[in-house]
Each structure stands twice: as structure tokens, then as C-alpha cells.
């Protein structure tokens, strides 16, 4: 039992924190957000040069062969800096998915390019409700809704219901005929896209179904998302504490008011419980026992999601009107925490999944 990070991990964390502090300031981020694409390919190349695009890729394919703990360190720092680039989908989920679902040849072709930042690969999984994506004679038809960073993709990995009854995973080129991406900003300043496929050419990657591989890759993404949330909440709680120490009302710093002190204590309780579950999620997210993995990840998402909500709402509340202004980074943390709570299954979804498991266990016993 040991909760310390090793030297390599600390060096990695330092690198990323330095990058955010120096090269990804709030002003820089604002300029990127307000640019037409809403993210920066240049920054992506800097991330590649720092090596962080390679951490989830095996050494055989030009990667660093790190795991969820290192990913969590990086995500925490990017969280506090509110990175707009497609790190979670492109550098965490995509490599995990390619490794699990695709052939050795495909891995050899694409993983090195992911590591160098040359190619951004994005998973499009959730179907639009009214038009699920299906394979029709080797091509794809249907729509995917709110694909995170779909517009950043050089290559899309698209799940589809296949003629063989399985969920297949297909490589789709964004520029191809029959592929339409509608790219837009989301509430939290990130980008997403709706993807319409109209008899679009596609190459099937999986042999014998990709649902398990997709779920496994998404779970690795979920653990990374939890770490991102903890990074944001760390920053949010620290900024709110600082605000309470300096902001004067009724002749004293408002941090002297006991009701606000207790609120801050409650925020810290949420944060520390979320941090604990983020560690547990990192440990368990690559577990091959899917039931055990899901139990941990649902517990983690519930804890983290509730913390996101509590901390975001109260940080704004304790900042008063200032917390609602676009000019303070706090309001942007608020929106990202709000979006995280609703992503990868919201709190209700995971609480219900965990609870349903209790009922099943009881019936089995």
C-alpha cells in the first residue's frame, strides 16, 4: 500500500503542470476557444513534443507504455488548465481502443502516428436516437450525436450494428463521400460534432465484435475523466479558499463566517472522497473482469459526479456574482465540471447500475 508517486511520475506531472502554467494560460485558452476551430493543432504538436500523446501507447509502437496512473496525473493538470484539445478521446480512449479492437497491422500503422500527434483518432460511439448507425453492404448509414471532439478527427472510429448482429468498429475518413460532420462548441467551451453517414465507405477493424473492446476503452477514458475532474476540483477548492481569505464583507474576510467555513469543509470532504475514488478507478479501469471493473467505475463516477456538482455549485455561490462572470476562470471550471457530471453516464445512470447489481447479488445469494 503506497500512495506516493514515483520519480518518473512526478517528473511527468511537473512537465505537464509547467506547460499549463506557462503555455496554456487562461488568456491563451480564451484565444484558442474564440478561434474558428476552437482548438489548436499547434498545441497538439507541443503535447506530442512533450511526450504526453505517447503515454498510453506501448513502447513497441513508439509509445511510453505508461498506464492509468500517469494518465490521471496528466488529466489532472489539463483539467485545471481546461485544455481544449482532444486529449481524452485522442490520446487516451483511441489508443486503448485500437490496442483492443484492431489487428496488429492496423496498430502498427496507426499507433505510432497517434503517438507523434500526426493523426488524431476519435471514437464516435453514441448513436443519434432516431438514426442508429448500421452497416449496409460494407458501408455505413446513420448518425452519431454529440461526438466529443469529432471535428478534430483525422480518422474516425465508428461503432455500428453489423449484418452479423454484432457491434462492429469501423475506420471512417472524415473527408470521404457520404461523411458529414457538423462541428460546434459545447457549454464548457470544448468542441463536439454530429456525424452523419450516408452510405459512407468504412473499413471494419474488429474480428468478431467490438462492443467489449469499446466498453473497455471507454472505462479507461472514464477513469481519466475522473482524474480530470479531481484536477479541476483541486483548483476550484483552492481558488475558493483563497477568495474567502481575501474577500471582505461586514468588516472581516468572509472566510471567518462559520457557515461558509463549514461549506468549505463539506467541499473538501467531497474532494477527498472523489480523489480516493479516482485512484481506485485508475487501479481498476484496465481490469479484464468487466463486472468488477464496472462496479468500481460506477462507484467512482457517482462519487466524482456528486463532488463535481457540489463543489461547482458552491464555489460559484461562495464567490457571489463574481463567480458567475465569464472573465473568471472559476465559471469555466463550473461549466466543465457540469459537463463532466453528464458525460460517460451521469450520476443517476451509475448509481442505478451499482444498485441493480446489489439486487442481482441478493437474488443470487
Amino acid at each position: 500500500m503506497n500512495f506516493d508517486f514515483n520519480e518518473d511520475q512526478r517528473a511527468l506531472a511537473d512537465t505537464v503542470h509547467r506547460f499549463v502554467a506557462r503555455d496554456y494560460t487562461f488568456e491563451k485558452r480564451r484565444a484558442i476557444r474564440d478561434s474558428k476551430p476552437g482548438w489548436s493543432r499547434e498545441v497538439w504538436q507541443v503535447l506530442a513534443d512533450l511526450g504526453v500523446l505517447a503515454i498510453n501507447i506501448d513502447e513497441d509502437y513508439g509509445g511510453l507504455g505508461y498506464g492509468p496512473q500517469e494518465t490521471g496525473l496528466v488529466m489532472g493538470a489539463f483539467g485545471a488548465g481546461l485544455l481544449l484539445e482532444p486529449y481524452l478521446t485522442g490520446a487516451v480512449v483511441a489508443p486503448a481502443l485500437i490496442r483492443r479492437a484492431a489487428s496488429a497491422d492496423f496498430q502498427e500503422e496507426w499507433l505510432p502516428r497517434v503517438a507523434t500527434g500526426e493523426t488524431i483518432v476519435v471514437l464516435a460511439d453514441a448513436d443519434a436516437r432516431d438514426a442508429p448507425v448500421r452497416e449496409v453492404g460494407g458501408n455505413l448509414a446513420g448518425r452519431k450525436a454529440v461526438v466529443a471532439h469529432g471535428g478534430c478527427a483525422d480518422l474516425l472510429l465508428v461503432s455500428a450494428r453489423c449484418a452479423d448482429g454484432l457491434t462492429g468498429l469501423f475506420a471512417v475518413t472524415p473527408g470521404a463521400d457520404g461523411v458529414t460532420l457538423r462541428d460546434y462548441p459545447t457549454l464548457d467551451g470544448q468542441r463536439a460534432a454530429d456525424l452523419a453517414l450516408n452510405d459512407a465507405p468504412a473499413v471494419r477493424l474488429d474480428a468478431g465484435g467490438a462492443r467489449d473492446a469499446i466498453d473497455a476503452a471507454l472505462d479507461i477514458g472514464l477513469a481519466a475523466l475522473c482524474a480530470e475532474a479531481v484536477g479541476i476540483m483541486d483548483a476550484t477548492v483552492a481558488a475558493t479558499t483563497e477568495y474567502l481569505k481575501t474577500r471582505q464583507q461586514f468588516g472581516q474576510p468572509i472566510g471567518r463566517f462559520q457557515a461558509l467555513q463549514h461549506r468549505m469543509a463539506d467541499m473538501l470532504l467531497h474532494l477527498e472522497q472523489a480523489r480516493s475514488m479516482s485512484y481506485l478507478a485508475a487501479m481498476d479501469c484496465s481490469n479484464d473482469d468487466a463486472a468488477a471493473r464496472r462496479r468500481t467505475l460506477s462507484a467512482a463516477k457517482v462519487t466524482v459526479g456528486q463532488a463535481c456538482r457540489f463543489i461547482a455549485q458552491n464555489a460559484v455561490q461562495l464567490h457571489g456574482g463574481m463567480g458567475m462572470t465569464d472573465e473568471m476562470i472559476l465559471s469555466h471550471w463550473f461549466k466543465r465540471l457540469t459537463a463532466i457530471e453528464m458525460s460517460f453516464g451521469d450520476t443517476d445512470f451509475h448509481l442505478q447500475r451499482f444498485a441493480a447489481n446489489l439486487s442481482r447479488e441478493a437474488r443470487a445469494a
Partner: protein, 384 residues
């Protein structure tokens, strides 16, 4: 005890309902029903319609041209308007400065200002909050120095809601810097077109421009635009804050939004999910209870008591309920709430739910934060 409305009150409700059904333009109704911000013109259009019916002075006594309703009638009026998707009344003129002018203004001020509030010819905004003051309203820093028949005003106001539309601003200013905090404050009416008045937008987290900073640099204000006595402004300010709290619970709006939540949740199949359905049930139950609590407070007011500290109960629960509803609407549509100001992504009703949730965080902050309201409850009602 009788919890039903009287036959007269029910008739009145029908009358309001008919009027709104006839006179409220569909375009406005549609915006309100879907949480879209209204333009200045749309607000004015509705206020003029009310004025045309003799209902321009909501909450005003007959002697000043108001309809002279009882608190219950006013409650019914606002509930019906909200339910039908009418714009929220612009309260800065009608409900804030007007009662102050009626109680403390000179006859000249009353004649000059009140009719144009009713007819929406002049739009008012508030100049209470200052940067750094927050809940501590009495720590006014804006200075007014008397020069002959004018005050010269310098300072900065903030959180001025819809100040970009305003013709006039009512301001707390410090006229005696030597006096203790609450003393030495005066209450001025300032023409927004005066030289030295600058309005700068504050963009909020939902991307909206609803609030502003108002900078006052050597603004000359005639003495006749001071309300009441010099250095007694805090008295009028407190009176205004008391009146700000009528209809503070927002029952009508909450009912309309609850109905919207139920429509959205049903369309998304969320009412078949027990945890989500229970949350909708909980907020509906809370609102049922708050409606009765609100009517109890109104009933006490009818016996000629001003809104008391009980209004703090209405403020806290009312804002919590509205915030919860906005949060549940957002959760109901899940990922479809994420696209930012994108029509046509996901179902139509999803487009404003994320920004709506963000926007309503203000409810527990502005108008006396809910923490301040709990201080009032524990200290003024419970005597702690």
C-alpha cells in the same frame, strides 16, 4: 381556515387568463416558454398591453393609477401571467423605485416618474451594488458632493441588471463620509443620459449580457432628484429591499417550468426511471408546499403588515426549487444539453437547457444571497 380562493378571486383569475390569452403575442410566449431572453422591445410591448388594460401599475394602489389589488389578487395575476408564458414584470421600476417614490418622493417626483414607469416610457435600473460590497449593501463607496443646486457623483455600481436598456438609475451614494456606515447615505435618481455615465457589459457564464457595470464620473445630479432627506437614504433603501421581496417565491414561474420539466422528462422517457421520477416528484411536492406557505404569508400581509422576515423563507425555497427544476431539465436530456447555443442539435427543447441551468445559479446569489436570508431567519424570526 379556508384554503380555497373566493368566487371573486376565481372570477378575477378567469379575467386575467382571458386577457393574457388574447393579448400576449405568440412570439413572446414561445420565447418565454423556452427560456429565451427577451429584447427590450418585447418587454415594453407587454408592459404597454398591461397598461392599456389599466393593469400597468401591478402592486400599486389606485391613488397612483394602480389597480389596487389585494396581495392575493396580485399573486393570482402574476401566477396566471407566468403560467401563460407572459414576460416577467420588469421590477426595477414597478416594484422597486415606484414604492419608494410613493412613500418618500415629493409630489413632483411622483408626477414626473410614476406614469412613465406604468406606460413603459422609461426603463429603470438599480444602483445599489458596488464592486466589493456584495451582500454588505451599506458599505457604499460612491461619493456625491454637493455643488450649488447639484450633486457631483463619482463611483462605480455593478450587477446592474438590464442596465443597457435603462433610462434612469436609482443610486445609493455617500453624502457624508464622516458618518457611520448606514448614516450618511443618500438616495439619488440619475438620468442615464447624463454626461459621465458609462455602462459596460458583464458577460456571465452562460454567455449572456444581462448585467452591467455602471461608471459614474463627475455626473451632475440636480438636488430635486434626491429622494427624501439627505443622509437618510438607508431608510429608503431598506424600505425598497422589503418591497423587492413581493412575489419573491416565484410560484407561477416555477409551476410553468415544472410543467416544462415534466413535458421534457416524459419525451425523454425519464419518468419511467424511478430515481429521476422521484426527483421530479420531490420538486413538485416542495412546490405544492411552498405555494401554501406563500399564501400563508400573503394572508398575513393582507392584514396590513409589510413583507416580514418570512419572505426569506419564500426566497430560499423558491430559488432552490427553480434551480432544481433547471438542473433536472438539463439532466433529462443528457448529452443534448451540451451543445452551446446550437439550434437543431438534438430536440428543440434541449437547446437552452444548459445555459438556463448556468444562468439560474444567480437566483441564490442576487437579491440577498440565500446565506443572508438564513441569517435573517435565524436572527429576526428565531431571535438567535
Amino acid at each position: 381556515m379556508d384554503l380555497s380562493f373566493s368566487p371573486e378571486e376565481n372570477t378575477f383569475r378567469e379575467e386575467v387568463r382571458r386577457f393574457v390569452a388574447e393579448k400576449l403575442p405568440d412570439a413572446i410566449r414561445h420565447k418565454v416558454m423556452n427560456g429565451v431572453h427577451l429584447s427590450r422591445e418585447e418587454h415594453v410591448q407587454w408592459q404597454r398591453a398591461l397598461h392599456g388594460r389599466g393593469w400597468g401599475g401591478v402592486g400599486w394602489p389606485r391613488e397612483f393609477g394602480g389597480p389596487g389589488w389585494t396581495p392575493t389578487e396580485q399573486y393570482i395575476f402574476e401566477e396566471e401571467c407566468a403560467a401563460a408564458g407572459a414576460p416577467r414584470l420588469i421590477s426595477f421600476g414597478l416594484k422597486m423605485i415606484a414604492p419608494v417614490l410613493m412613500a418618500f418622493g415629493s409630489p413632483a417626483q411622483q408626477q414626473r416618474f410614476l406614469p412613465k414607469i406604468m406606460s413603459a416610457e422609461e426603463w429603470w435600473c438599480q444602483g445599489y451594488s458596488e464592486p466589493g460590497a456584495g451582500s454588505d449593501l451599506a458599505s457604499v463607496k460612491t461619493r456625491a458632493i454637493r455643488e450649488g443646486d447639484h450633486y457631483v457623483v463619482n463611483g462605480q455600481k455593478t450587477w446592474t441588471t438590464l442596465g443597457q436598456y435603462a433610462d434612469w438609475i436609482f443610486c445609493l451614494v455617500r453624502t457624508d463620509p464622516e458618518a457611520k456606515k448606514q448614516s450618511g447615505i443618500s438616495f439619488l435618481l440619475i438620468d442615464m443620459k447624463s454626461p459621465g455615465v458609462t455602462v459596460r457589459p458583464i458577460i456571465t457564464l452562460d454567455g449572456a449580457h444581462e448585467v452591467n457595470e455602471v461608471w459614474l464620473e463627475d455626473v451632475r445630479v440636480p438636488l430635486e432628484n434626491r429622494v427624501g432627506e439627505e443622509n437618510k437614504g438607508w431608510t429608503y433603501a431598506k424600505f425598497l429591499l422589503g418591497h423587492e421581496r413581493t412575489n419573491i417565491a416565484g410560484i407561477g414561474i416555477a409551476k410553468r417550468e415544472l410543467a416544462r420539466l415534466k413535458r421534457i422528462a416524459a419525451a425523454e422517457g425519464r419518468l419511467d426511471q424511478p430515481l429521476f421520477a422521484a426527483k421530479v416528484a420531490q420538486v413538485e411536492i416542495d412546490l405544492m408546499a411552498l405555494e401554501i406557505t406563500n399564501l400563508r404569508v400573503l394572508s398575513a400581509e393582507r392584514e396590513h403588515k409589510a413583507p416580514g422576515p418570512e419572505a426569506s423563507i419564500l426566497k430560499i425555497k423558491g430559488t432552490e426549487i427553480q434551480q432544481t427544476i433547471s438542473e433536472l431539465m438539463m439532466q433529462a436530456v443528457g448529452a443534448c444539453a451540451l451543445p452551446f447555443k446550437q439550434a437543431g442539435v438534438g430536440p428543440d427543447y434541449a437547446a437552452n437547457l444548459g445555459t438556463g441551468y448556468c444562468n439560474l445559479r444567480k437566483l441564490s446569489i442576487f437579491g440577498g444571497s440565500n446565506e443572508i436570508q438564513k441569517n435573517i431567519i435565524s436572527q429576526m424570526i428565531m431571535g438567535l
